[in-house]
């Protein structure tokens, strides 16, 4: 059992948890994730490790999108999680590159955050662009500001920061003409694809963190395979970060839809149970 030492809402449907998982906390590096199973009947889902501390706790930030994440978001301080395994995946490539643009869309900001911290620490000039649909859904603004040399906030409705998409801001940054050593983009797949298309003509090295459906997270099932440079790669062990210009995003989108029907039914059952309880 892995006790939750802190649970706190960050935005609508987004919650931060600190979980006592000393083995994971000790080893984790930016870019890595855990797989957890809430309880016996639950499924295994991957979540990025946003942070860790010296007391053996890890931080995860969860957006409630379906049964498991919504269930997770009902948990409170003092509850526990049955299984947490990690750290999984390869760590982010961190070096002193120069100017690095970090783009986070929605809960992708939580996934990008630890890498932004590591990039800043490594002496890079960090420009962060974070986007969300509106002010209410924006997360980690203060944290991102603290770790960025420049922070740009984009909302679809203009309720906070500038109105528009993260890609438009990225284009402005590119157009300034100052060299960009690399771009890291994490968020919904269409956003990552759009970023890749903006940087491709300028041959700016672009990294994305892919979110295929996972089960074991150890390279045993192959369910998380993604097409990168025409080759099948297992995102849980070879990734989750890949060269955006090599990724076949269409296959990723299609594979992520595979269980739509079961997911919808499962969520409906869960919400009915919640109502009754």
């Amino acid at each position: 059992m892995f006790p939750i030492v802190e649970a706190r809402p960050l935005a609508r449907d987004v919650k931060l948890f600190r979980i006592h998982a000393p083995r994971v906390a000790k080893k984790r590096q930016a870019g890595q994730f855990v797989i957890l199973r809430i309880a016996e009947h639950g499924e295994r889902i991957p979540l990025t490790i946003a942070d860790s501390d010296d007391e053996g706790n890890i931080t995860i930030i969860v957006q409630g999108v379906g049964k498991t994440t919504k269930w997770l978001n009902t948990l409170e301080t003092g509850d526990s999680i049955l299984d947490v395994v990690g750290p999984l995946g390869e760590e982010s490539e961190i070096d002193t590159f120069g100017t690095v643009v970090i783009i986070g869309g929605g809960v992708g900001t939580a996934i990008a955050y630890p890498t932004a911290v590591a990039m800043k620490k490594a002496g890079n000039h960090v420009i962060s662009i974070v986007g969300s649909r509106n002010r209410e859904l924006l997360i980690l603004e203060d944290e991102m500001r603290a770790t960025s040399d420049e922070l740009c906030i984009m909302t679809d409705d203009g309720s906070h920061g500038e109105k528009g998409f993260v890609t438009e801001k990225l284009q402005q940054v590119i157009d300034r003409g100052a060299p960009i050593a690399r771009v890291l983009a994490i968020g919904p797949v269409p956003m990552m694809r759009a970023v890749a298309e903006r940087t491709r003509p300028h041959a700016i090295k672009t990294i994305v963190s892919l979110n295929p459906i996972m089960v074991d997270g150890t390279g045993m099932c192959g369910g998380c395979r993604v097409l990168v440079g025409g080759k099948s790669r297992f995102a849980c062990v070879d990734g989750p970060e890949f060269d955006a210009h090599q990724v076949d995003f269409e296959v990723l989108i299609q594979r992520n839809r595979l269980y739509k029907q079961q997911e919808t039914e499962s969520l409906a059952r869960f919400e009915k149970e919640q109502c009754e309880a």
Binding site: R23, V24, K27, R37, H41, G42, E43, R44, K67, T68, L82, D83, V84, V85, G86, P87, L88, V215, D216, G217, T218, G219, M220, C221, G222, G223, R225, L227, S232, V237, E250, V251, Q254, R255, R257, L258, Y259, Q261, Q262, E263, S266
Partner: protein
């Protein structure tokens, strides 16, 4: 208690059939197929044994179970002693009695098989093990006094479990690290409930916990910690690596990324470990097989388990696509027969060359080519070769690839000073199972490549003996 008959009489007794769930019924449920011998049938079967002076059967068993002796104890009606006799060489008799490829091992060597049919050794082994379990009188062996030595075991499949059991008896403090959330390796996530009920595996693990073995799930060695850290930070005195051969192989043909194409590992993990077959109670989804066409590519146990699972998930048609002929199939004969009885269609001498999908990226069909057998290859099996111009397409909703597995590199890549061979398997001395790294031993599928439960258990025993020597003498 039955009395021994003269040999002539014994030979007249027919081999006792294993009662099973009726094919049409079991093909749609996950309950165990084989129901187990009744006492009378077990006694009658035991009477068939000729009690050979030189029992060939023992030589056919990879761990040398004292078959003649335990069968005599069955005849004497002392089932608990019979079980204890098996346990001297085999710690998981309820498992091996069910899943060993007996026809190639003990039963293949039994003298009766030459003229009649071999003794049903596996069924008898299962009978006494089940009797022992149901009696609740499992005689847990005595533990030697504590040696103060700590051994880490990486992986909780049959190799890791049997090694852990033996080392605990020697008085060592044993910790088993498992990447998944449950203990048992392939016994748990691979072999389905209808062939090996999970309660049997769990029962054995409870016994091992009582022996003082510490099980730590959710630990991926190579990620959560390295082998070096096990020695340096966690003060283990020796490590046994038994991580199995869990890396799925694909066919490397176009269309393999379509939705509905699975590795057998993924399909079976979803169905068995995550219990997707009970979707009302468990959240992990599996592709809906109901009224669909499902094909499994391969001819081994994994292929049979996958196709029979698909059948039970409601497939309209379930096919085996195998590039050689039935004669070359590596699966246990019983599984092939069971699959056929359950309505699985065998398309032997066929090979997929392309998967076909629709605009949503979902599988709709497969292109196959017919094969014929040519000259024997290195393994002695006749090499299949494609018949030119014989390609055709068939509609398909789910494809499961069961063409073998390889070595998962997680431990090896973080232990660079440990030798591996060109396929990535760990190199270990055949007799001692020592690797080239001091204090590190390895065995089971991660050394041999995908093999069998009993061979993995045998490796676990060998390793335990050799680890014990190392811990007592300190000599490498």
């Amino acid at each position: 208690m039955a009395k021994p008959l003269p040999p002539k009489e014994r030979m007249k007794i027919p081999r006792q059939a294993m009662p099973e769930q009726e094919a049409a019924v079991r093909a749609r449920n996950f309950g165990e197929v084989n129901l187990g011998l009744e006492v009378v049938a077990a006694e009658t079967e035991a009477q068939r044994c000729l009690s050979c002076a030189d029992p060939k059967c023992v030589g056919g068993c990879p761990v040398g179970v004292k078959i003649k002796d335990f069968v005599e104890l069955v005849l004497a009606g002392d089932y608990l002693k019979a079980a204890a006799k098996i346990r001297e060489d085999n710690v998981l008799p309820a498992v091996t009695g069910r899943v060993c490829p007996q026809e190639n091992q003990c039963e293949g060597a039994c003298i009766m098989g030459k003229r009649f049919s071999s003794l049903a050794i596996g069924n008898l082994e299962r009978f006494v093990a089940d009797y022992e379990r149901q009696s609740g009188q499992i005689g847990l062996p005595e533990r030697a006094p504590s040696t103060g030595k700590k051994v880490a075991i990486v992986g909780s499949g049959p190799a890791g479990l049997s090694c852990a059991g033996d080392l605990a008896l020697q008085g060592h403090q044993v910790t088993v690290f498992e990447a998944l959330h449950e203990i048992g390796g392939v016994l748990l996530y691979g072999i389905p409930e209808f062939r090996l009920p999970k309660d049997i595996v769990r029962g054995e693990i409870e016994n091992m916990k009582k022996m003082g073995i510490d099980f730590q799930t959710n630990v991926v060695v190579g990620k959560s910690m390295t082998i070096d850290e096990l020695f340096d930070e966690e003060a283990f005195d020796a490590v046994f690596i038994a991580t199995g051969a869990g890396l799925p192989q694909f066919l490397d043909i176009p269309g393999e990324h379509f939705g509905g194409v699975y590795s057998a590992n993924e399909f079976l993990t979803r169905v068995n470990l995550m219990k997707a077959y009970d979707s009302e109670h468990y959240d992990q989804p599996v592709y809906d097989c109901r009224d669909r066409n499902v094909a499994v590519v391969g001819g081994g146990n994994t292929a049979m388990d996958s196709v029979r699972s698909a059948m039970r998930l409601g497939a309209k048609n379930a096919y085996i696509i195998y590039r050689r002929s039935e004669e070359e199939m590596p699966a246990r004969k019983e599984e092939v027969h069971h699959a056929k009885d359950e309505g699985v269609e065998f398309m032997n001498l066929h090979n997929p060359i392309e998967f076909i999908g629709d605009e949503r990226g979902v599988l709709t069909g497969v292109k196959l080519i017919k094969m014929e057998l040519g000259e024997p290859d290195d393994s002695g099996r006749r090499r299949p070769k494609p018949i030119e111009g014989s390609e055709f397409e068939m509609p398909l909703d789910v494809a499961i690839i069961a063409v073998g597995t390889g070595a998962n590199p997680l431990v090896q890549s973080t232990t660079p000073d440990m030798a591996t061979n060109k396929w990535g398997y760990i190199v270990a001395d055949e007799k001692s199972l020592r690797t080239n790294k001091r204090g590190v031993f390895a065995g089971g599928d991660i050394v041999s490549g995908a093999a069998t439960v009993i061979l993995a258990m045998g490796a676990g025993r060998t390793a335990a003996r050799s680890i014990n020597d190392f811990l007592r003498t300190g000599e490498w």
